[in-house]
């Protein structure tokens, strides 16, 4: 019973964090701010799904966690490459 209360409070705090990150995504003065805030939203959503799967006592959401982590990783890399080089997929890199 106490564990359930603690997990619910943790969910509320994660929600507040996501809202703050959303403010940074919308308001953010520069593009890197927005990208870091989006990555943070992804990580917080991962944690929220893990807590929800603990609360509901099921393992059905574990694939969701893995795939959301992969997609958040690829998205952050693509945004960073766009910021640094302007193109995401190069035809031939000069290395």
């Amino acid at each position: 019973m106490m564990i359930k209360g603690i997990l619910t409070i943790a969910l509320i705090f994660f929600t507040i964090t996501v809202v703050i990150c959303l403010y940074r995504v919308i308001k953010g003065p520069t593009l890197p701010d927005r990208v870091v805030a989006l990555d943070m939203i992804g990580v917080n959503m991962l944690s929220m799904i893990a807590i929800i799967s603990l609360l509901q006592n099921t393992t059905a959401y574990l694939e969701v966690i893995l795939i959301l982590g992969i997609l958040s990783f690829i998205g952050t890399i693509a945004f960073s490459k766009y910021i640094e080089r302007g193109v995401i997929i190069e035809r031939k890199s000069n290395r």
Binding site: E63, I67, F73, I89, R91, K92, S93
Partner: protein, 142 residues
């Protein structure tokens, strides 16, 4: 300007294999739990996209010399072929069959022709998604 991305290239070399392993797990888990051919194909395509983003198109094409349009065609052929295969046995189109087999080291497993259909769906998804993404990336007119 030389760009230093040693960390990204080193990490991606390992992460791609983790993603492909997850894709194979999702492909085989799709019988009674979340997963299946469509999701497995999308995860394989995301691994290829990660390779394309990290390295460039020419380097990946040298490593994976596959024409993705032909992969999509092969997938559609497989998926439709399982449908017509059931017609040859005198039952309705797309009727699937399954049988329990005893596989050493794995125990009692159920094998069905649904897996061939799912393989066709996965190949189609990989081929179509990669064709779209690569042709969009090649089409920058500068």
């Amino acid at each position: 300007m030389r760009i230093n991305d040693v960390i990204l290239r080193t990490v991606v070399r390992f992460v791609v294999f983790i993603i492909l392993t997850l894709a194979i797990y999702l492909f085989f888990a799709g019988h009674y739990s979340p997963g299946g051919g469509f999701i497995g194909g999308l995860v394989i395509a995301s691994a290829f996209v990660l390779l394309y983003v990290t390295f460039d198109i020419e380097k990946v094409k040298k490593g994976i010399p596959v024409d993705f349009k032909k992969v999509a065609a092969l997938g559609v052929f497989l998926a439709v072929g399982t449908g017509f295969g059931s017609v040859l046995f005198g039952v309705d189109f797309l009727t699937q069959a399954a049988k329990k087999f005893h596989i050493p080291l794995l125990g009692e497993k159920e094998l069905g022709t649904v897996m061939l259909f799912e393989l066709g769906v996965a190949l189609t998804v990989v081929g179509v998604v990669m064709t779209i993404i690569v042709s969009i990336a090649e089409g920058d007119g500068d």
